[in-house]
């Protein structure tokens, strides 16, 4: 079957689904007074990363409560239905099928990129609108799907952002780029190096360390000899923590910068005072945005934590769905997806606009300065 036929078959499938959905909706409308629009919330409610699933749930539920208190969507009340994929790709596929079978056509989730990827195939095929608030893997949107969106930036954007900051703001004399030889860390470090080289700023060192290594004294002495005054580290907090701690002991007076993977309260535990002033790219702290003050209060009033990185992206996902449904006066998922691609939205994470693939056109990351007490503030 060639591509055109495939598309036609797909759109016919979608059309029939829509007819079926419309017919079902009519029947329901006939019997029930107040209609509800069910939105599925897919993510880990159990398992080792359940805490991240909670963040997503806090954001979605707060947005839904706000919506319902303000007239719902086109006169319909919204109901969030939780589906647990435990961040397991196999279970995510089962959950996606169940969502389709339950007749739900709007999904916020999934959370882990490895779960989102297989599930998004199903949603695309069945004409279900999906917005993930947490999956950052580029491959999810690379397939060029029409029904799949994100309210979070891609990992790789952090690298170019860090390079920009180094060139425009930090302006160091001698730069070293260090990484942990793993996909995430080396990938980001390479992006940073390439961007620096493109701007004619050649890092004096580009070297890997072994994840799990404890002794970095030789590397630090080498950086001292090279007169390095700025280090970009691509990797996670355990190694950076030790590098910082040992650099402070050896008196290497360089400034450090890392990606989101180092932003963790354990970093300060490992490195202590040496964390003060370290730069890191991390998702914007939307709960500190003055425009979100009301929302933060509403979440805190329920005794929940609004500071998690996925709370406001999840909140924004519901806002985008609600705004779209209101704008086109329909909850048809395929039409909504077309509208989302073509328009921009004012949300809890700022103005959101999409490119053809369903990725945000603007990064949701920001450069932060980390502090020894484990807190972070936007870098100057």
């Amino acid at each position: 079957m060639d591509e055109g036929e495939n598309k036609m078959a797909n759109s016919f499938k979608r059309f029939s689904k829509t007819l079926l959905a419309a017919a079902t909706a009519l029947t329901i409308a006939g019997t029930a007074q107040a209609e509800t629009l069910k939105i599925a919330l897919a993510g880990p409610a159990t398992g080792p990363v359940a805490q991240y699933g909670d963040m997503q749930k806090i954001g979605v539920m707060a947005a839904i409560e706000y919506l319902n208190a303000n007239g719902g969507i086109n006169g319909m009340d919204v109901e969030g239905v939780i589906y647990d994929d435990a961040c397991d790709p196999k279970q995510a596929v089962a959950v996606a099928n169940k969502i389709v079978n339950d007749g739900i056509t709007h999904v916020v989730g999934h959370l882990c990129s490895s779960s989102t990827e297989p599930a998004s195939d199903i949603y695309e095929e069945e004409g279900v609108l999906m917005i993930t608030a947490a999956s950052t893997s580029p491959s999810i949107t690379e397939k060029g799907y029409g029904m799949i969106f994100r309210t979070i930036g891609l990992d790789s954007l952090q690298g170019s952002m860090a390079a920009q900051y180094i060139l425009d703001t930090a302006k160091p004399k001698t730069i070293a780029v260090i990484h942990d030889k793993q996909q995430y860390g080396e990938g980001l470090a390479t992006v940073v190096r390439d961007a620096l080289v493109a701007a004619d700023v050649e890092p004096v060192m580009f070297e890997g360390v072994t994840a799990g290594d404890k002794d970095f004294s030789a590397l630090i002495a080498k950086m001292q000899k090279a007169g390095v005054d700025f280090v970009y580290y691509g990797g996670y907090h355990p190694e950076l923590g030790l590098i910082l701690r040992q650099s402070a002991e050896k008196g290497l007076g360089a400034r450090f910068m890392g990606p989101e993977g180092v932003v963790n309260s354990d970093l300060a535990k490992i490195a202590g005072e040496a964390v003060e002033g370290v730069l890191a790219t991390a998702p914007k702290a939307f709960d500190q945005n003055p425009e979100n003050a009301e929302r933060v209060k509403a979440i805190q009033a329920k005794g929940e934590d609004p500071t998690g990185p996925f709370v406001f992206p999840a909140y924004a996902a519901i806002q985008i769905m609600a705004d779209t449904a209101k704008a086109i006066d329909s909850t048809d998922a395929v039409k909504m997806a077309e509208h989302i691609k073509a328009n921009s939205f004012d949300t809890a994470i700022g103005t959101v606009k999409y490119d053809d693939k369903g990725d945000l056109t603007e990064s949701t990351f920001l450069v932060y300065e980390l502090h020894a007490d484990g807190s972070k503030t936007p870098a100057q």
Binding site: G208, A221, E249
Partner: protein
């Protein structure tokens, strides 16, 4: 001195520091191998347990306040050596003694099993996340060279590691060469069966070997714990592997060989990281091992195994 030689000196200092701790752990491998011809793969985990025990003691005593730092450290050292020694003794009793006399491979599998058991035991009881300790000993003893080019620094912590290792190694050498028990150890290493026939309780000597090895690993556990400030249940694997390499490099079964092997490995790693991209650190260290074994299969100070008849 020129900048290049100052830099070389600094890297050798760094290498000797890490090498000293490899040597401390390597003793445990080499002593056990020397006497019963078996590689105790659970030895790295003993080092990790020593680290955990010393962290717990230090944190506890610091929380009580008013206790001088040297007292705290000394207490941590004693408790860690005691508990690690108990683990060493128990492991031998539980996992190795019942298998003695059977195929060497069986004891080896038992050792690997013990290693996995201990790693998971600590991960379950202490949590698998990193545990950190604030720097207790900071600052440098000595700094020389010009600040503009390159300054060589020796920190108090490095000095502590060297001096503790030196004292321990001297004590061990004296014990092995002068004491009655030490003589019994040497006799066991020469010929276990013959020593037994001469009326020496070889089981006691073997237990003692495990206890000494474990206590030395605990010393390394405390020192490296203080030096890096971070431990987790999985540090034993890499440390054990490096120390085992050091033991083989120096000649497994030979105590001075383990000491020398540790230092050579540490310095080789530091110098590789110094003059090549640091990715190649492990490549060169293990390449060195292969090269030395090709030309001297028994290691630098090892004696060829004599066929016992």
């Amino acid at each position: 001195m020129t900048e290049a030689s100052l830099y070389l000196l600094q890297q050798i200092i760094n290498g000797l520091t890490i090498g000293s701790t490899y040597a401390l752990i390597a003793i445990g491998y080499t002593m056990v191998y020397g006497i019963i011809g078996m590689i105790n793969f659970a030895h790295g985990e003993i080092y990790m347990i020593g680290s955990y025990v010393s962290f717990i003691v230090i944190t506890g005593l610091l929380a009580m306040g008013n206790i001088a730092l040297p007292v705290t450290l000394f207490a941590a050292l004693l408790v860690a050596m005691l508990i690690a020694g108990t683990y060493g003794w128990s492991i031998e009793r539980v996992a190795y003694r019942p298998l003695r006399g059977s195929n060497r491979l069986i004891a080896l599998i038992s050792a690997i099993g013990m290693s996995i058991f201990l790693q998971n035991f600590v991960a379950l009881s202490q949590g698998s996340r990193d545990v950190a300790l604030a720097p207790l000993i900071s600052g440098s003893v000595l700094e020389f060279g010009s600040l503009e080019t390159f300054a060589v620094t020796i920190s108090w912590m490095q000095l502590l590691i060297w001096s503790v290792t030196l004292v321990t190694m001297t004590a061990l050498t004296l014990f092995i060469s002068r004491s009655r028990m030490g003589r019994a150890c040497r006799a066991c290493a020469e010929d276990l069966g013959m020593t037994n026939l001469l009326g020496i309780d070889t089981n006691r000597i073997i237990s003692l070997t495990f206890i000494i090895g474990a206590a030395l690993a605990a010393i390394a556990g405390l020192l490296l714990g203080l030096y890096y400030g971070v431990i987790n249940p999985y540090i034993g694997f890499i440390a054990g592997l490096k120390a085992f390499t050091a033991a083989v490099l120096g000649g497994i079964g030979s105590i001075p060989g383990a000491m020398l092997g540790g230092l050579i490995l540490g310095v080789a790693e530091a110098l590789t990281a110094a003059y090549f991209p640091s990715e190649y650190k492990d490549v060169v260290a293990f390449g060195l091992l292969v090269t030395i074994l090709l030309f001297r299969p028994t290691g630098i100070l090892g004696k060829p195994e004599v066929e016992k008849v």
